[in-house]
């Protein structure tokens, strides 16, 4: 069974590869390469897989899930400039793909119990663009 909790955060970022010229960055990222940065209202859906506990009827207490996601991700990302304030985005381009991977890496150690384990991370950068990451390479 899968259970999903949705949270939101707002943050700014720049999509820029420091190994490329300004012109190459503009060609690759368009307006997202603006060196002053820009922001999004991100929506994050965290999906946990497991079997419901026969006594509580829950895969994982949703309050527990909410607290983990808030502590490990929302409080770290919310109202921050990701490139300047949140590692690893001083080194890694904060595309939605890389943000989803980082969210997975932050949550996975806390969601790997015998009954409930992290299944997937869905990150919306805008209502029309989202990525799904399941911990695999492709």
């Amino acid at each position: 069974m899968l259970i999903t909790r949705k949270v939101e955060f707002s943050a700014s970022h720049i999509c820029r590869n420091p190994g490329l010229s300004d012109e190459e960055n503009r060609a690759l990222f368009g307006g997202a390469a603006n060196p002053h940065g820009h922001g999004h209202n991100y929506v994050l859906e965290i999906t946990v897989e497991g079997a419901p506990d026969p006594v509580t009827g829950m895969v994982l207490d949703l309050k527990t899930l909410k607290n983990i996601v808030n502590r490990e991700v929302v409080e770290v990302y919310d109202h921050r400039f990701l490139n300047h304030e949140v590692a690893p985005f001083d080194q890694v381009i904060p595309t939605p793909e890389n943000i989803a991977i980082d969210v997975w890496n932050r949550l996975q150690p806390h969601l790997s119990g015998p009954r409930a384990r992290l299944h997937g991370v869905r990150l919306y950068e805008t209502p029309d663009l989202y990525v799904d990451y399941f911990g695999d390479a492709a």
């Binding site: 999509c15 590869n17 190994g19 490329l20 690759l28 990222f29 368009g30 890694v92 381009i93 904060p94 595309t95 939605p96 793909e97 890389n98 989803a100 991977i101 209502p127 029309d128 663009l129 989202y130 990525v131 799904d132 990451y133 695999d136 390479a137 492709a138």
Partner: protein, 142 residues
Amino acid sequence: MLVTRKYRFAASHRLHAPELSDAENRLLYGQCNNPFGHGHNYEIAVTVRGSVEARSGGAVDVGLLDGLVEREVLEPFGHRNLNQEIEAFRTVVPTSENLGREVARRLKQHWDAVFPHGPLLEKVAIAETGRNACEVSAHEIE
């Protein structure tokens, strides 16, 4: 990694199966069988599967995807009567299912020219309204 991009277009259609009688068509399709047709604000979601490329930090060049969808789907379908103006629907009923197949077929046909080194087309979802949806996996399309 899956990346999904949503697009919209408005078009008209009529659901009418030529193999059935007029009475059977009215019974089956109801209002959607109105001979003058009717329209929808369609929403399509195109999902791509790829790995994150180090140069861009992305799994797909969204600009290239937008260009392909614009050229093969939004431009030909937008503000058209699907039954009368799209060749595929002269003989095939333009249900969500068949529309999803046609969108996936068009994208798949031109995919390798736009993305010769990946990523892969994973699926296409199409919604006539906010209350229904149809999903077609790329492997269902020859």
